[in-house]
């Protein structure tokens, strides 16, 4: 079941190569041009989005919505076209579509600029210099597009499985290489990747349904699908339209259940195993309640032990959720499937009961895989890293967790915190109460001293003493002011934390 995604530059040989491969294999062929056409039919303002990305570095909220809708449409199209298991897709940034799914063959092509210029000259009837300028400008614009839409660097080699330099290779040979590579075991779809693909497709479909529905089209929604369960989070100000979400998704095929959670923001909680009765759960939910946030769970299998197991979310009697391992069609009478989801389903269920669930899903891998899995849905205010890399030993686990945190913070631009720091940073307890008392006393002392000894202090700052020791005023201000600001801001911060304004 090979799905080949070819990223080709305009006026390169991507189209020819893709057509050759499709002809040789009989696999369906799809191009970005067809997606663009479909986008126009759907009413997505793609040209407005493209112009905006090129023109200005800042994109408005409306266009960001347009971007998400476009990505949903591409995902849906790929899923539907590849329904029989095979697909050859080519076009701008093709290799970056459907991130986080293994088993896809992502191909990059290098074509000589001279050859592209020649092609552009013929096709567009341009003189050589104009064709060169046109292509250089176009490449620059595509770079911006990739950066904004896919949050990737177009030069990053790690996003390709295969890069072919067509300057010294014929299209026929390149096709043969692609064909042989696509048949390798590494590029066969596993049940796990199929499940992820189905979920991506379901989430994409849900987004399109919600955009089509007049009452939900303008809402700021976050959508995720896991094993047929679609979780939608919406803002409190959209409370009145919340019922329309379920109505918009009523006809969504493949959707077993819809969970709608009202949230001002989202918290992503990453751990190897979850316990709804644990201390971390209490602290995360306490914070979520204060912030009015929904919590999304990501169970990270850093060693890839789960790759061979196929988790499928099933619905128990009473509507509760649990995970089940695929048995290859053989029914197991025993209710215990043997698959250990490390508390994920139970914790999601508890969060749903608390009205704080933004869904939960497992992934195998590390930093790159986590980023790929969440970057399309990146609307988090905080990422909490719990117990991770447990099999590596304490010190290594701490180091790897810290590195993962740095990676996530850099790529997703979201604050990352270890679960151990949650209480001291965001919650109020005994320690904070003592801290508050200490800082209040220090503040009072500082103000009392300054206003009791005004004259000598002002003398140093601008009086007779100042004219003799000018630097003393500068040094005094440099040392004193940050201390006052720190001490008093700690007092206000802690007091406002008590009344839930932070």
């Amino acid at each position: 079941m090979p799905i080949v995604l070819i990223s080709s530059s305009p006026h390169g040989s991507g189209g020819e190569l893709a057509q050759n491969l499709a002809k040789k294999t009989g696999w369906p062929l799809y191009s970005r041009d067809q997606v663009v056409e479909k986008a126009h039919e759907t009413g997505i303002k793609l040209s407005r989005l493209e112009t905006s990305i090129i023109k200005s570095p800042v994109i408005s909220e409306n266009l960001a919505r347009e971007k998400n809708l476009y990505l949903a449409l591409v995902t849906k199209t790929i899923c539907e076209t590849a329904k029989n298991g095979n697909l050859v897709y080519y076009g701008r940034a093709g290799h970056l579509l459907s991130p986080g799914i293994s088993g896809l063959l992502r191909v990059g092509l290098g074509s000589a600029l001279e050859m592209r210029i020649e092609h552009a000259m013929k096709q567009l009837n341009l003189p050589q210099e104009k064709a060169r300028d046109y292509l250089e400008k176009l490449d620059e614009d595509i770079k911006k597009w990739i950066h904004y839409v896919h949050r990737e660097d177009s030069q990053n080699p790690l996003v390709y499985d295969l890069f072919l330099n067509l300057q010294h290779m014929s299209i026929e040979n390149a096709t043969a290489i692609l064909y042989e590579t696509a048949l390798l075991q590494d590029f066969k779809f596993t049940v796990e990747s199929q499940q992820k693909m189905d979920d991506k497709c379901l989430a994409a479909n849900a987004k399109i349904h919600l955009a089509d529905h007049i009452e939900t089209s303008g809402m700021d929604l976050s959508v995720r699908a896991v094993n047929g369960v679609v979780t939608v989070t919406y803002m409190p100000r959209q409370e009145a339209s919340a019922d329309h979400i379920s109505r918009a998704l009523e006809e969504l095929s493949g959707c077993r259940e819809t969970i709608c959670t009202m949230a001002e923001t989202n918290i992503l909680w990453i751990q190897e195993s979850f316990d709804p009765k644990g201390k971390n759960f209490d602290q995360v939910t306490q914070l979520a309640k204060r912030w009015g946030a929904a919590v999304e769970l990501l169970r990270l299998d850093s060693e890839g032990k789960d790759r061979s197991q196929i988790p499928v979310m099933i619905e128990n009697q009473g509507g509760s959720l649990s995970l089940k391992t695929d048995t290859g069609g053989v029914e197991d009478d025993d209710a215990d499937t043997g698959y250990d989801d490390k508390g994920l389903a139970r914790t999601v269920e508890k969060l749903v009961a608390l009205g704080r669930s933004a869904g939960g899903f497992p992934i195998s891998g590390a930093g790159r895989e986590v980023i790929d899995a969440v970057k399309d849905n990146n609307n988090y205010s905080l990422i909490v890293l719990g117990n991770l890399f447990l099999s590596k030993g304490n010190e290594t686990s701490t180091r790897l967790t810290r590195e993962l945190g740095l990676d996530l913070r850099e790529k997703l631009k979201v604050p990352v915190i270890a679960s151990g720091e949650l209480h001291s940073r965001f919650l109020f307890g005994k320690t904070q109460a003592f801290k508050l008392l200490g800082f209040i006393l220090t503040t009072v002392l500082i103000y009392w001293l300054v206003f009791t000894f005004q004259k000598p202090i002002l003398n140093v700052l601008g009086g007779d003493l100042h004219s003799k020791f000018k630097w003393a005023a500068s040094i005094g201000v440099a040392l004193f002011v940050p201390v006052v600001a720190y001490v008093y801001s700690t007092v206000t911060g802690l007091v406002l934390k008590i009344i839930d304004i932070d």
Binding site: K55, S56, P57, V58, S60, E61, N62, P236, E239, A242, D243, I245, S246, L249, L252, C255, E257, T258, I259, C260, T261, M262, K289, G292, G318, G319, V352, L354, G355, R409, E410, K413, P415, Q454, K455, L458, L461, G462, G463, H466, S467, W471, A473, S474, G476, V477, A478, F480, V481, P482, V484, A485, Y486, Y488, T492, G493, L496, D500, I501, D502
Partner: protein, 371 residues
Amino acid sequence: MEHLIVNFIHIDMSIAFQVVLLGFIGGVLSGFIGSGGAFFMTPGMMNLGVEGVVAVASNITHKFGKAMVGSHKHGEAGNVDKKLAIYVLGSAVVGIQVAVFINSLLFKGGTGHGASKGAGANLYISLVFALILSVVALSMLRDVLKNRGKGEDDSGPSRQIADALAKLNLPPMIHFKVADVTVSLWVILVVGIATGYLAGTIGVGGFIGVPAMIYVFGVPTAVAAGTELYLAMFMGAYGALSYAFQGFVDIRLTLLMYLGSLVGIYLGVYGVKVVNERYIRMVTSLIILLCVISRAIAIPMYLRQLGLIDMDPGLDVYFNNISKFFLFASGITGTLLILINVVRSYRQRRKIQKSIRVVNSSSTNVTLGVE
């Protein structure tokens, strides 16, 4: 106004309370608008009888400490691009130095016509203030009114200049990793000097710095705010130390401003989260416009003190009071509008949280709703 020591006024309970109030209102506005706050506090202190240059110096000192705490918090969240801050800072220092030089010169020198000390600097600060903030407020108001009734929430501020600057790809181009943008060095220099000059003159550098980073450089909003605070920490430190060296920092005013501003800023930031975007711009532009009017009313007074116009000195008190009235009216009205919304949504949020219920249902139905 009675002076305790050279440039520093006597502070009684009434003045102390008014400075705390100025700090609070400035804090709320600063948290709400995202930058500034000084546009209210600086003239507010001048209305209380504080010399313009002392008001600017004490305010920039207040900003220094506040920015240090704020940038530390943003730094922990990964919102500070230190490389970008250093580049902007390099050019901002030039702008600040120019501002400090002009202010000190006008304060000490007067006009040579026997004008009262400080009137030249007061006039200069008021004129720059009125000019820059009129442009900002009118542009903001025009955008709000222009997009009224369009239904789409796509009414961002006018970006013609920003877009033109953003398209300038004059080498050398510099890449900033945390902000994830590439910008021409020349554009950074222009923005830096303008930011520094305004910060040094009227204590309102963020009005240029934050929007420039967002709209010209393409920096994400959170990183722009964090980087601006990091930058403000250095600019504030530089401005504060320079003014302290010149003997203009009144630490009592700084401390009193903190009492109000550090509470106000939290409430202002909270307000942004809960108030509609168009409303934010409308309130902001009206507040700034009223502040500009307030400062413009004080200008004839400074002109008379400089001997540039002939006016009865007895009228000074009226000009000062009307100016004061406009300033406090704008700040208090703006702050009340923000606080009413903050309290309303705070109560609404608590109510919603208490009323969350779970509705269990099977396929394709909502599982959770709000009562």
